[in-house]
Amino acid sequence: MSLIIQEGGLLTILQTVDKQTNSKQKNNEYNGAVDSLSPMLANKLVGNDVNEPTLEMSGQPAVIQFTEPTIIAYSGGDFNGRVSEEYIQPNRIYHVDRGDVLSFQGSTRGSRLYLAIAGGIAVEKSNVLQSGDEVTMRRNYTALHDEIFHMMSNKRKVSWGIGIYSLVEVYLSDIYHIVKRPDVPAEVYERLEEREYTVTREENRIQLSVEGQEIDFVGAACVSPGVLGGVYLENNLPTIALNDFDAETELTHIGTIPSYHMHKLGQKRRGSKIKFKAVDSDAAHAETYGHYLWVNSLFKAIDYKISKELVKEKM
């Protein structure tokens, strides 16, 4: 036993960064994090492999008690947290002690957060966590973890974190690319781009529904694959598929949002705005590559900050 879920929150789930198709745990779906950048950032901060599973908390986050000391970081929506009596912030490294209770206030931006624990975590039963459930620390510690533990042994936090300005480009724009299909008329995309849409609701991890300009188009009768980021027409309005969307659908598919815009989509909540921009796959791939380079440079910056902190500690 290492973490106790005191209050389950709205939806707290142990989740992998990307979809796992060969999960050994029966009945547990690991369809990937809705915002897959945030768990990677949180993992990077605590010295984990970036693909280590994290706790994804949507809407109202859980209240969690620690039964042994560890290092934590959380990323994603702008939720202010509290460890016992001390306020904590996203994208920073914190040391928690045995008995500490982690809780969160509402978010000013974004709808979910990802909590990473140094050395990784696992569950024995369902990965959907409820009040009273226990999460085990895997304690898969590396030399880097040992150094981070040593660095944090006499302090609760480090003085730096990933500033919001570093993430603005990824999270703050309301424009979403949609990769066009060859069989959808140009007028459909023109109409889609004309006005903003407003998110009306998210079916937990399944789909985002929006209201706005109606699209009067019916594609050929077809059973399409339900793909992450797929934009389908339901009652003449776009519906966007999230990670737990059906494997197939008879809804008309009009295009797919590329992976580099799915992080910010995962943080949209009711009332958020969405503006579509139709692109072809070559333009999308140029952006995909640019995004990949940007993520790597961010990871390198975190490595540099941690190594600088370690050197400072040794002097």
């Binding site: 694959p225 494997a247 590329p258 796959s281 070559d282 999308a284 791939h285 990949y292």
Partner: protein, 85 residues
């Protein structure tokens, strides 16, 4: 019809009977497509979708058009199974 379904999937869409043939061939010999860049292959009644990592294709195959690379790989095979070559 074959198209880029977002930035990580290539989807081939056809009549159910054509996809049924392709599925049968896939079950038999994986369509003889042996390429490290193609991951999961997912079927519906009317489609077959090939998942790939565009960055991996761009870096390893020295191309800025990873979708075109995957399409060039799978389309001849699909056309041949469906009798459309």
């Amino acid at each position: 019809m074959i198209f880029a379904n977002g930035d990580k999937i290539i989807t081939y869409q056809e009549d159910a009977s054509v996809i049924k043939n392709i599925k049968a061939q896939f079950d038999k010999d994986n369509l003889n497509i042996d390429n490290p860049h193609i991951g999961e292959v997912v079927f519906t009644k009317n489609t077959v979708s090939f998942y790939y990592d565009p960055v991996e294709v761009m870096e390893n195959e020295n191309t800025i058009e990873p979708a075109a690379y995957i399409i060039a790989l799978v389309k001849p095979v699909l056309d041949s199974v469906s009798g459309r070559k």
